[in-house]
């Protein structure tokens, strides 16, 4: 077997800051050590594994980002997806590399060198630093990639190269490496020279397993990457259709296919993509969303209809396509079926879906109470299905507030009778919008209740809101 390993020594850094001229480093916050560096940082003498204190002293201008495995994980998945065209047997090794089973691919690409070239070309487009290593086992390939030895598929050379590697490059735990070093064992060659039996009497099974897998004596099963499934159907229309009305039956059919597809897999989607192809010009793409995830054609259809209603066709349509990516498992919650009222009324999510399809996504918002004394910051607009987290020790929102608040306070100069107050609010220095105001509840001569304020050392009253 021949394996190829793609090692990305600065994956997160190059994902977040692909070509910054400033010195950048990724810090592992568990021990405040630098784990990835760009060239600018290296030029200033910063090295990997260096502590923050030393790095700070050497390169005061270094920019730091905290290590986040999720970033690497996402990127590796994307890379695996991209590599899928070039190679089978892809096994992501999160967070720093990817294995490729090379044996079959070498033939397919007309030789090892060609195969490697194609892969390197792909990586080049990704602007990623990558060290390639080949080896007779997955572990050997990874080791040689990290050692950055010249790439070859010659078995003898490979065996010789990996034996020369120091133990520190292996994946053995540091404590095991230290144990071995205290016996004078520095390289893999030293380690492999030890009789296996004698070794197993002194070290635990993990070391034996590592050696076995490295040398290929023990199998090393790897999970292979599966590209995510998507739904996509394209239909050429027998004739051009000019109104959305006439498109509906076609769409309904496609939605039916989607429903079958999803139900077979016990899945739902939160969004479908409808593409309409006019005879000429750019295709029109419409996204239709369902906040909770949906599989049923009967639920999707009204949403699609509403969306099409908002945007009449500008040209006859010759073909259409329906696709859905990001398939999600069907939620366990089947409230709809159990709730006797559910057939009669819409759930909150369904209502939001309908409203958004009708009015446009950005025009349906939810008003959320915020932890701020300043009246204009005390509430904020959020996504309609945003869930507020309630802190148990959060004070209850103020109860004496008018139902109608003005976005911008209005000056007020009529006589007013102050009923309650002042309530003094001095807040906001932290976001540079400081306010110092004395609020009063007041009544005018017509008996209308106002919420007014004035600022100390300032003249003039302002109305902030009206009580109903």
């Amino acid at each position: 077997m021949l394996w190829l390993y793609l090692y990305f020594p600065r994956l997160q850094l190059e994902t977040q800051e692909p070509d910054s001229p400033l010195p950048f480093g990724i810090v592992d916050e568990r021990d405040n050590r630098l784990v990835q560096l760009n060239d600018a940082a290296k030029h200033q003498g910063v090295t990997l594994g260096m502590g923050l204190a030393t790095a700070a002293a050497l390169c005061p201008g270094i920019q730091l980002l905290p290590l986040k495995e999720a970033i690497a994980q996402r990127r590796i998945k994307e890379l695996a997806q991209g590599l899928y065209d070039l190679s089978g047997d892809i096994s992501p090794d999160i967070p720093e590399g990817i294995w490729l089973g090379a044996t079959r691919m070498v033939k397919y690409h007309n030789g090892f060198d060609n195969y490697c070239k194609n892969i390197q070309r792909f990586l080049c487009q990704q602007s990623l630093t990558c060290q390639l290593g080949a080896g007779p086992s997955p572990l050997a390939a990874r080791l040689l990639a990290k050692a950055d030895t010249p790439l070859t598929d010659q078995p003898e050379t490979l065996a010789q190269s990996y034996r020369q590697c120091p133990l520190a490059l292996t994946d053995l735990p540091q404590s095991t490496c230290e144990h071995l070093q205290r016996l004078g064992i520095q390289t893999l060659a030293d380690l492999l020279a030890l009789p296996f039996k004698a070794l197993s009497r002194r070290f635990d099974a993990d070391l034996a397993q590592y050696v076995g897998r490295l040398t290929g004596q023990l199998p090393h099963p790897l999970p292979f990457f599966q590209p995510p499934e998507t739904f996509r159907r394209h239909r050429e229309l027998p004739q051009e259709l000019e109104t959305s009305q006439r498109l509906i039956p076609w769409i309904e059919r496609l939605l039916g296919e989607l429903e079958t597809f999803l139900q077979n897999r016990e899945q739902v989607v939160k969004r479908v993509e409808l593409t309409l192809y006019p005879r000429e010009g750019e295709p029109i793409v419409q996204w239709i969303g369902a906040a909770r995830g949906e599989s049923r054609a009967a639920r999707w259809l009204p949403l699609v209809e509403l969306t099409l209603e908002r945007q009449p066709l500008s040209a006859p349509v010759a073909a259409l396509a329906l696709s859905a990516r990001e398939l999600l498992p069907r939620p366990k919650d089947t409230q709809d079926c159990l709730d006797p009222h559910s057939t009669a009324s819409l759930s909150c999510e369904q209502l939001v879906d309908l409203l958004q399809a009708r009015l446009g996504e950005e025009r349906v918002r939810r008003l959320v109470v915020r932890e701020d004394f300043r009246p204009d910051k005390a509430s904020t607009e959020q996504d309609p299905l945003y869930q507020t987290e309630r802190n148990t020790d959060t004070p209850a929102p103020p109860s004496l507030r008018p139902a109608f608040l003005l976005v911008t306070p209005q000056p007020y100069s009529q006589p007013l009778e102050i009923v309650h107050g002042p309530e003094r609010i001095a807040a906001g220095w932290w976001d540079h919008q400081p306010q110092v105001r004395d609020y009063y509840i007041a009544r005018n001569s017509e008996g209308l209740w106002y919420w007014v304020f004035r600022e100390p050392q300032q003249t003039g009253w302002f109305v902030q809101g009206y009580f109903s």
């Binding site: 810090v27 916050e29 405040n32 003498g45 923050l52 204190a53 030393t54 790095a55 700070a56 002293a57 050497l58 005061p60 201008g61 270094i62 920019q63 730091l64 905290p66 144990h179 205290r182 016996l183 004078g184 064992i185 520095q186 030293d190 020279a193 030890l194 009789p195 004698a198 009497r201 002194r202 915020r370 932890e371 701020d372 004394f373 020790d393 959060t394 004070p395 929102p397 103020p398 109860s399 004496l400 309650h420 002042p422 309530e423 003094r424 609010i425 001095a426 807040a427 220095w429 932290w430 976001d431 540079h432 110092v436 004395d438």
Partner: protein, 1039 residues
């Protein structure tokens, strides 16, 4: 009766920053502000604490304020009861201390738990109840309180202009009406002025573990929780509510100055007064200390001292300390007293100190003084490994209710303030950590304020300005109470009637709520029981010398004369590795210049190499005058009296205080305030207020303005680093004793030092190299010959050191016990074969540690193979080994394990013991041709002053002492000794990488010589660390 005058105000609920992470002003600031606002009274009512009240009291005294200071505390009892207790008189104060103590002792450090019983038991304290706002709950608590504290209960009504406040006021009025309670206004202040609001909000965010922006409505909504002007208070509260504050204040007559401290009675035998008993003990001491009779002069001094002790009533204090040292003596614990009161013939006779008054007369004039109005100061140092015995003795003798440690207030320092404020402002934590590590506070050219750009803040931006302002405000704020290193307060009655006691973090330790300044302010006395490593080393030296050389030495015997020229000769050459106090690089560089030749020179030497005298610019004038290069003159006879012993240059803290008194006319009390302000200067920066008085006072007495300003600058320079002569005197004695032992009994001295580690300045490796350079033979660690500790072995007629097992890293205590108890054969050997070790009960980890330390070198010449053999699991089961004898025999590790090279052995030596007795790494590198040309440490003396030289070695020390701004000392070790490299800031900046990270360094520089001490002023730094790896690779190529 209603008066026409506007009614006054007393603030009865006010918390300082001793309500940690809540109050946003220092007690002093609150006191000052209340005084400025003309309050009738201010009650400091920190939550379950009186830790801040003494500071307010000191400020009150300083201001001569007419605003009365009331002692009180706020307490919360969940669910929903919130009360403030105030002390009308001494009995109420004792009650409050007891309640706080009980509530605190029930909880871990920093918390408290009040119980209903605590409040029910109140007989004296006045109670202000702060209703919660919930009718049912408040009514229940109100009725309960009324039942238990009827005549002493008020409803405290707060107004902070918050949401729905009118309803809260109505609620309170209704409650008061229903319950028939008087209402008293209260401000519930947390700050002394409105400008502290942002800091208060930051503190709240820190307490909640969130950011200010996210803390939202859990913050204060405005700055009303400050001390408000009387006008403002009058518009907010009804007159009758304000009048109640005055009525309450009127009832509070307790003043902290009333506290009287009583010494424990058991120290004095029945029928004797403390003073007569002290005189008896002193007489006994006279006979012992002066066998030929004390002579007139000493006798006169004793009489003078005793008279003073009697007059000031300090006999008990001396008896208490005497009792401690008697305990130490009878248990063979070495000790030494220091401090102004310790340097007295009385203390010499009581054997509190070994400093013979005949050596240093000048000091004894400074004993106690009425004028200076300062409490007697005696610290006693004990062997660091045995101090706990003394502490336990104190607890046992007096009982826990009567003895407790003083607190140390741990305050926000720059870094902690930056970290917490930064987090509260929502600045990314790794950026903050980075800034904190990045800020080189010694690099004075760029202030930290200019470095905020590094955390992504734009210098000058609003956030940056806020950060800077808040950090600077927060610095010096107390964070928590910790235990003082050894200051005990011991009293005749229960301490909890004097001051609350709370739990310390350490199990079985309790601390009082006051620190040493508070104790001083109130004139209470404390006894300092401190730990000193050198005393351990000296005692161990004495034991070894007695055991191996048959000589009985004592500290006082050895320091009776302190005039041995050979010992001073060694000190003058800066051959002082391992000596007490004079072993640091800075001290060493001063020794050949100052050339101490008698005891008092050592006293000066120890005090002069300190940041205080150095920053105050005292060193060079002193050296010049000593060498006769500068004339010594005095502006007056009084100044001559103070400065003559140090050639006109103030070097000791005492001299500065004396100057203020004789030259500027400070009273004793003022001088004491100056001393304390100096001690706290770094924290509070509060010396400026003395400037005018000092300068004017001196000018008025005919001194030039220039002289006065110079003295003031010197006081500033002293800051908290000034060193008192009275302490230096005791230290100098120990320095001399250690030097004497090093000179005459080097084997015993080094062994004792190594056995007292960790202590001092140098690692065991450096001490052992120094010992070998002095011709001491050192034998390696060996399973057959070594014990836990290093010991002396006799080789014919001379002694040598056998290294002990304590050096072996990873070897457990139990493992050492097992080895020590192994039977030895007739020739004193424990083991004859490696395999025997496997069956003696040592764990595998211990076995491996021993093998790697080469402790089996008498059994096998290859430590790799020893370790390999000892790791074998089959060997651990003798039965199994017998059943399968072939298995064990079949192993031939020599076939596959390498033989360690010299370099491998070196690496293993350092890894497993931290030192090597084999060749130095520099020798190996040189032999491999990897270092090029360089001069060895030993040979530097042959080079002339200002000659260009190249030195190389292992970096064993990087020091940026506060004593020398911008300079780093790097110590390079080679096989012949240490080269001292001086790196100036500019050099360091330009070559940061080599400067910061090199483990092996080559330095091209200029040699500078001062007497026999040689420095290399660094020019180019060359990092040679990679040569080690190359050497490692090379050494492997050869095997």
């Amino acid at each position: 009766m209603q008066s026409e005058d506007p009614v006054g105000y007393a603030e009865l609920v006010c918390q300082s920053n001793f309500s940690f992470l809540e109050g946003a002003s220092h007690p002093e600031e609150l006191m000052r502000r209340a005084d400025e606002l003309g309050y009738r009274a201010l009650a400091l009512t920190d939550e379950c604490s009186v830790a801040g009240v003494v500071r307010a009291y000191a400020e009150h005294r300083r201001l001569n304020s007419e605003t009365k200071l009331i002692v009180g505390s706020r307490m919360k009892l969940p669910p929903g009861l919130d009360v403030v207790l105030l002390c009308p008189h001494r009995a109420a104060y004792a009650e409050l201390c007891r309640v706080i103590t009980n509530a605190r002792r029930r909880s871990p450090k920093g918390q408290y738990q009040l119980e209903k019983w605590d409040l029910k038991s109140l007989q004296h304290c006045l109670v202000i109840w702060l209703p919660h706002g919930d009718w049912a709950r408040d009514l229940r608590w109100g009725q309960w309180l009324q039942k238990h504290c009827a005549e002493r209960l008020w409803l405290g009504l707060r107004r902070h202009l918050t949401h729905r406040e009118h309803r809260y006021i109505a609620h309170c009025e209704q409650l008061a009406g229903t319950l028939g309670l008087p209402i008293s206004a209260c401000g519930e202040a947390l700050m002394h002025c409105a400008e502290r609001l942002p800091l208060q909000q930051v503190l709240t965010a820190i307490r909640l573990g969130t950011t200010v922006a996210k803390a939202g409505r859990r913050l204060c909504s405005n700055a009303e929780r400050r001390l408000r002007s009387i006008d403002r208070v009058q518009t907010l509260f009804k007159t009758e509510w304000l009048e109640q504050t005055l009525a309450i204040a009127e009832r509070c007559q307790f003043d902290l100055g009333e506290l009287r401290y009583e010494y424990p009675a058991e120290l004095v035998p029945a029928g004797k007064s403390p003073f007569t008993y002290l005189c008896e003990l002193v007489e006994q001491g006279v006979v012992k200390r002066f066998p030929e009779g004390p002579g007139h002069e000493v006798r006169a001094t004793i009489d003078k001292e005793l008279a003073l002790i009697e007059e000031l009533g300090y006999a008990h204090f001396f008896l208490t300390i005497h009792d401690l040292v008697v305990f130490a003596q009878s248990n063979g614990i070495l000790y030494q007293g220091r401090g102004s009161a310790a340097n007295s013939v009385v203390c010499y006779c009581l054997e509190i100190t070994a400093v013979d008054p005949r050596h240093i007369k000048v000091l004894f004039e400074r004993f106690l003084s009425k004028e200076r109005d300062e409490p007697p100061d005696i610290d006693v140092d004990f062997e660091h490994e045995r101090r706990e015995e003394v502490i336990q003795y104190v607890y046992e003798k007096y009982g826990r209710p009567r003895a407790a440690l003083a607190a140390t207030v741990i305050s926000y320092r720059f870094k902690s303030a930056l970290r917490d404020v930064g987090k509260a402002l929502g600045i990314n934590e790794s950026h903050l950590e980075f800034l904190i590590r990045n800020i080189n506070r010694r690099d004075r050219d760029s202030a930290w304020e200019d470095q905020v750009g590094d955390i992504g803040l734009t210098p000058g931006s609003e956030t940056a300005e806020q950060l800077i302002r808040l950090v600077n405000e927060l610095r010096g704020f107390p964070r928590h109470l910790s235990q003082h290193v050894g200051g005990f307060v011991i009293s005749s009655g229960p301490l909890y009637e004097l001051v609350p006691i709370e739990n310390a973090a350490m199990a079985d330790r309790t601390v009082i709520q006051w620190d040493k300044d508070d104790i001083e302010t109130l004139g209470l006395l404390k006894v300092d029981i401190l730990a000193l490593g050198m005393l351990t080393a000296l005692r161990k030296s004495f034991d070894l010398i007695r055991e191996h050389q048959g000589h009985s030495l004592t500290l006082s015997g050895l320091t009776a004369t302190m005039d041995d020229p050979q010992v001073y000769g060694m000190i003058q050459k800066a051959d002082t590795v391992g000596l007490f106090q004079i072993e640091s690089r800075a001290q060493m560089s001063m020794l050949p210049r100052l050339k101490p030749a008698r005891y008092y020179d050592l006293v000066i030497q120890i005090a002069i190499v300190r940041p205080g005298p150095i920053q105050g610019g005292m060193v060079h004038p002193y050296l010049k005058r000593r060498n006769g290069e500068e004339r010594v003159d005095y502006p007056s006879e009084e100044v001559r009296g103070v400065l003559e012993r140090t050639m006109g240059v103030p070097i000791f803290q005492e001299q500065v205080i004396q100057l203020a008194m004789v030259a500027a006319g400070f009273s004793g009390g003022e001088a004491d305030q100056l001393r304390r302000a100096m001690a706290a200067w770094k924290k509070t920066g509060d010396l400026g207020r003395f400037h005018g008085k000092l300068v004017n006072g001196m000018e008025a007495r005919g001194y030039t303005n220039e002289f006065a300003e110079r003295i003031y600058q010197q006081i500033l320079g002293f800051g908290e680093y000034g060193f008192p002569e009275s302490h230096s005197a005791s230290f100098a004695l120990l320095a001399y004793a250690s030097a004497w032992l090093k000179h005459y009994y080097p084997e015993a001295f080094y062994t004792a030092l190594l056995n007292s580690h960790p202590m001092g300045f140098y690692s065991p490796s450096q001490l052992i190299q120094d010992a070998r350079r002095h011709g001491v033979v050192v034998h390696p660690i060996c399973v057959n010959h070594s014990d836990r500790d290093h010991r002396l072995e006799r080789d014919g007629d001379r002694l040598s050191i056998r290294l002990g097992l304590r050096l072996v890293k990873g070897l457990s205590r139990e493992g050492i016990d097992t080895l020590e108890t192994q039977p030895r054969n007739s020739s004193g050997i424990r083991f004859q074969q490696t395999s025997q070790l496997q069956h003696c009960g040592l764990s595998r980890r211990d076995l491996e540690a021993l093998a790697s330390a080469n402790a089996l070198h008498t059994l096998s010449d290859n430590r790799y193979q020893s370790r390999w053999q000892l790791m074998d699991r089959n060997e651990e089961l003798p039965l199994f080994a017998q059943a399968e004898p072939t298995l064990a025999a079949a192993e031939t590790p020599a076939d596959y394990l390498p033989q360690p090279s010299e370099f491998d052995n070196l690496v293993e030596d350092y890894a497993s013991t931290g030192l090597t007795l084999n060749r130095h790494p520099v020798v190996l590198l040189e032999e491999a041709g990897m270092l090029g040309h360089f001069v060895r440490a030993r040979d530097l003396v042959t080079h002339r002053h200002k000659a260009p030289v190249v030195v190389a070695g292992v970096v064993t020390g990087r020091q940026s002492p506060g004593t020398a701004a911008g300079v780093t000392f790097i110590t390079l070790e080679d096989d012949t000794g240490n080269s001292n490299v001086v790196v100036w800031l500019a050099t360091a900046r330009a070559q940061k990488r080599a400067y910061l990270t090199a483990r092996i360094l080559k330095v091209h520089g200029i040699l500078e010589r001062e007497g026999s001490v040689v420095h290399v002023i660094a020019g180019r730094l060359e990092d040679m660390s990679d040569r080690l790896q190359r050497l490692s690779a090379k050494s492997r190529d050869f095997h």
